[in-house]
């Protein structure tokens, strides 16, 4: 993920290194070739200076970067002719980007949302420790229960740990606190990871974890609303984002400044209802809604790109009107930076595509789809040094 200060122009060569999928960098490269350095600079300055007049933005830029004002003016005119920016003559809006301009900027990764962001190394270390502990719990829970989805439960751990221990607002003593941030695990089969995180966060006693899927216990195979800390049921794929839309809408209209995070599996994106919700969220400009895609590239029957190709995935979300960030879903620095960035998005929902490894942290399951929902035995765990 690229982040830079807005004091320097973005070299075109860097614009195409952003995304890890094949198609988006290509498209991005082609689109960026249509613009020269100065035009990209103007786009970036406009995105960062809402409501100012074109002349004052250009004059500032000219002074700061040592580019003749006339050159910038000429390039601004070209952008105007391309219907990428508009000038509100005499109005209060100053210069602004047209919907086409917004789309182009999102496509090129030129956003005003980036802020310098530093993370305390101690926090990263503590998150890493928590994630290892959660993974250990997840494996032991599943060995105890004799069934469960190992792959996704391990790939999503770091996303959950980042959210619960460095981002979200909640009160384990009062799970239904109205001002809390909400989390919907739309890929409900990763429930063991959620339960282990909820236990670590103080919602449920750790001893309960080992009663996963037991008839006398409430920790069901997929999340149920009676479990303390669980904000919504799931298990049937594709439904969480719609629910997230409803939550985000009601919170917004109540003036509650809480965020709704929805974690989706990538295989889950095959479901049409996800895209119904993607349209709804962008219609209502739900900037308090964040979709996080656990992009581990596998679903039950094999690689996502064989079953039903999703790429260019980032492009799809951008086209649906979302702000998109791609990160390494096992790197807390990147995850936290992205979770921070989405707080600055004012006019649209955000999607974080977290590139992950299925089965991460358990060597025989890493990237091995045989472990999608393969039972693991206690002996097998001991063999790999767990427990």
């Amino acid at each position: 993920m690229r982040r830079r200060s807005y004091e320097e122009p973005i070299p075109i060569s860097e614009l195409k290194l952003d995304l890890s999928s094949v198609d988006v960098p290509v498209i991005r490269n082609i689109v960026s070739r249509g613009f020269n350095k100065n035009q990209l600079l103007i786009l970036k300055e406009i995105r960062c200076n809402i409501g100012r007049s074109l002349t004052s933005i250009l004059r500032d830029a000219s002074r700061r970067y040592g580019i003749p004002l006339s050159t910038l003016k000429l390039n601004a005119k070209i952008l105007k002719d391309l219907n990428i920016l508009k000038v509100d003559n005499g109005g209060s809006r100053g210069v602004y980007l047209t919907p086409l301009g917004e789309f182009v900027c999102e496509l090129l990764g030129i956003t005003s949302y980036g802020r310098e962001f530093s993370v305390d190394p101690k926090l990263i270390q503590s998150l890493n420790e928590k994630a290892s502990l959660v993974r250990k719990h997840v494996l032991e829970m599943m060995a105890e229960a004799g069934s469960g989805h190992v792959g996704a439960s391990l790939s999503v751990v770091d996303v959950l740990v980042a959210l619960y221990f460095a981002k979200m607002r909640y009160d384990p003593k009062n799970p239904s606190w109205p001002l809390r941030d909400r989390l919907i695990l739309s890929e409900g089969h990763a429930a063991p990871a959620l339960y282990a995180v909820l236990a670590l966060a103080g919602f449920i006693p750790t001893s309960e974890l080992y009663k996963l899927r037991d008839i006398n216990n409430y920790l069901s195979g997929h999340p149920e609303i009676i479990i303390p800390g669980v904000d919504m049921v799931s298990g049937s794929l594709g439904q969480g984002l719609s629910v997230g839309c409803g939550m985000a809408l009601a919170l917004k209209r109540d003036g509650i400044n809480s965020k709704v995070y929805v974690i989706l599996g990538d295989g889950e994106l095959d479901e049409g209802q996800v895209w119904e919700a993607a349209l709804t969220a962008s219609k209502y400009k739900l900037n308090n809604l964040v979709a996080i895609v656990d992009r581990n590239r596998y679903q039950q029957g094999g690689p996502t790109e064989h079953i039903k190709p999703l790429e260019p995935l980032a492009m799809k979300w951008i086209a649906f009107g979302w702000h998109v960030i791609e990160v390494n879903g096992h790197d807390f620095r990147e995850l936290l930076r992205a979770l921070n960035e989405v707080d600055y998005v004012m006019d649209k929902p955000s999607a974080i595509i977290a590139h992950t490894i299925k089965g991460k942290g358990y060597p025989p399951a890493e990237g091995n789809n045989d472990y999608h929902n393969k039972p693991i035995s206690k002996d097998e765990l001991r063999l790999w040094g767990f427990k």
Binding site: M232, V233, S236, V243, G244, C245, A250, L279
Partner: protein
């Protein structure tokens, strides 16, 4: 029916500040303008996407709101699984209004005629099912339904074909005995209540004294009233604008088989789809949903007693 519904919703909107209406660009949308104009912040139109609609409604309800879903009953059924897994499993305060139900969209043909919804809603644990016979019955119980806890399915037709009531006399959960009688009990719901009353008049001429019961609350069904009349008359005919599989008839039969078996006959749609028709009565005749179908059923069931 739809206009009354829209008026009721707007009235309640003024009374309750926590009432949301969620809509999937159905023909109700135009009729809901009074609500959406008065309370734009509590009206949500998700476009033609029923599955997303149910999800959004559940999300809003989870924030402590009362939510009314309003769209075509037929197309809401494509979100049955969402109704089961999101509304059913959470038991949140979502009231589902299915419009254009039964054969009330007679012109549009089988794609729009929803004759399975009662069965589909009845099987969802915790889901209540309410089928008003006319707009007065709807007005009578609507506020109680909104005030009640948990999900309810409200089945309404497109337009009101015939008035049954002149004043509000229905109570939620209690079957309404419109006409007393000792020879047979006709238990009807929705648009078939009016047909049952006509049938009772014809039967009088044949010397059969029929009771007519409007069982508007199909789930939970009014056990006491139905058992009382089964014992009193010893013969039951059910009548509904619905498939004979899983609807009111099945609900009544499930009760009587267990508690007090009597001969019973079902008037309903017999394993068939509807059909396009220029008016409702043509379609009623085609599907066997007229008062004379009820009369025939009564004569058969009485002879079996």
């Amino acid at each position: 029916m739809r206009w009354v519904l829209s008026k009721l919703i707007t009235e309640l909107g003024f009374k309750r500040s926590d009432l949301y209406v969620v809509d999937a660009d159905s023909s109700m949308s135009a009729m809901l303008t009074s609500f959406s104009e008065n309370f734009p912040e509590r009206y949500v139109n998700v476009g033609i996407s029923e599955q997303g609609l149910v999800g959004v409604a559940v999300g809003i309800a989870s924030c402590g709101k009362k939510v009314v879903i309003c769209t075509y009953s037929m197309f809401l059924m494509r979100a049955w699984e969402q109704l089961r897994n999101l509304v059913g499993r959470t038991r949140l305060d979502v009231k589902i209004v299915g419009t254009h139900s039964g054969i009330s969209s007679y012109g549009d043909g089988p794609s729009h005629q929803c004759i399975e919804d009662v069965a589909l809603m009845r099987v969802i644990p915790g889901m209540k099912v309410f089928v008003p016979a006319d707009s007065i019955a709807l007005r009578c119980c609507f506020e109680d339904i909104i005030d009640s806890e948990g999900p309810t399915y409200i089945r309404v037709g497109r337009d009101e074909d015939e008035r049954v009531y002149s004043e509000c006399s229905c109570r939620l959960g209690v079957a309404n005995v419109i006409k007393d009688g000792g020879d047979v009990a006709i238990i009807a719901s929705g648009g078939m209540v009016a047909e049952a009353l006509k049938a009772a008049n014809e039967l009088k001429r044949l010397g059969i004294d029929a009771a007519v019961i409007d069982s508007h609350t199909i789930k939970p069904i009014d056990r006491d009233t139905i058992l009382k009349y089964a014992m009193k008359t010893g013969a039951v005919v059910t009548a509904e604008e619905h498939s004979i599989y899983g609807g009111l008839g099945s609900a009544v039969a499930e009760l009587l088989v267990n508690e007090y078996p009597v001969p019973i006959a079902f008037v309903g749609i017999k394993d068939a789809f509807g059909k396009s028709a220029r008016n409702l009565s043509d379609l009623r005749r085609y599907l066997g949903l007229t008062s004379s179908d009820i009369v025939n059923a009564v004569r058969k069931v009485v002879s079996r007693r």
